[in-house]
Symmetry: C2
Subunit: 158 residues, 2 copies
């Protein structure tokens, strides 16, 4: 696992990142125009941002409702042990559950916060029973369902 430390970004870099968060398939020609640089200078900066790991990847953003996964559920998981080995074991296990789209280790103990996307409540129950409670060391699992997504994957304020 490579840790990426903070990188110095100037105003032009930030403009590029904002443009590419809004349209990740923008051509370099358009990007250069958007940040008022020549195409070669724009491409050089873009490659530098990619190489430095500032841009980790490009992705198509999928409409969750359109693909039949309209329900987001936030799940809090407590482990019985907070030893690093127990945390790693949990994280390895949870990475194999496709419905888990986000997973954070929270401060103050051994609590994880997960976001799942599911088809319906039966699907939630299935994932809960088959994938979450069966992981060794999982002590408590509590879920709350999102009714409405107000901001979905907003861009970072760069």
């Amino acid at each position: 696992m490579k840790t990426v430390s903070a990188v110095a970004l100037d105003a032009t870099d930030r403009k590029m990142l904002r443009a590419l968060q809004a349209d990740g398939r923008m051509s370099n020609t358009d990007l250069a125009r958007a940040v008022a640089l020549s195409e070669s200078a724009s491409l050089r900066r873009l490659r530098a941002l990619e190489t430095a790991g500032v841009i980790s990847r490009y992705a198509a953003i999928i409409n969750e409702r359109a693909v039949g996964l309209p329900i987001s559920v936030f799940v809090t998981v407590t482990l019985s042990s907070q030893a690093e080995s127990a945390l790693t074991a949990f994280e390895t296990a949870i990475a194999t559950v496709p419905e888990v789209v986000e997973c954070y280790l929270m401060t103050g103990g051994s609590d994880y916060l997960l976001r799942l996307v599911v088809r319906d409540v039966d699907d939630l129950e299935r994932v809960h029973a088959k994938a979450l409670t069966t992981i060794p060391g999982v002590t408590r699992v509590s879920s709350s369902v999102a009714m409405r997504t107000v901001v979905k994957r907003g861009a970072l304020p760069v």
Copy 2:
């Protein structure tokens, strides 16, 4: 606001969505090869997915640490009124706070769950004081900080 209802997807569509979530800048030539179609058939399907709103956009995925926003904070906000007008007012106000990258209305009351990205704890305090508690109708605000992100913006299980 346009609501996108679920769309029928076949196995090839799903393969395309998986490929494009992993690499949103993949060329149509490569995409066609990945799903075993001709370029023209691949491109036609891709445009259909875009037009139907299954793919909402393409985005560069930014490394939060690399741009100096290493801290994710989950904030629960309770409103004093659960009237639809109060909810809408809150959602309009929260949309103007750049640090808020996700916002969900949770079932069972008038609680919102937000994810903020901030530079450090001073930055969190500033956003908390200047942007969150000043929104009319906000009654309770409680924060918890993520120590570690295990799965960052995982792909949807399509």
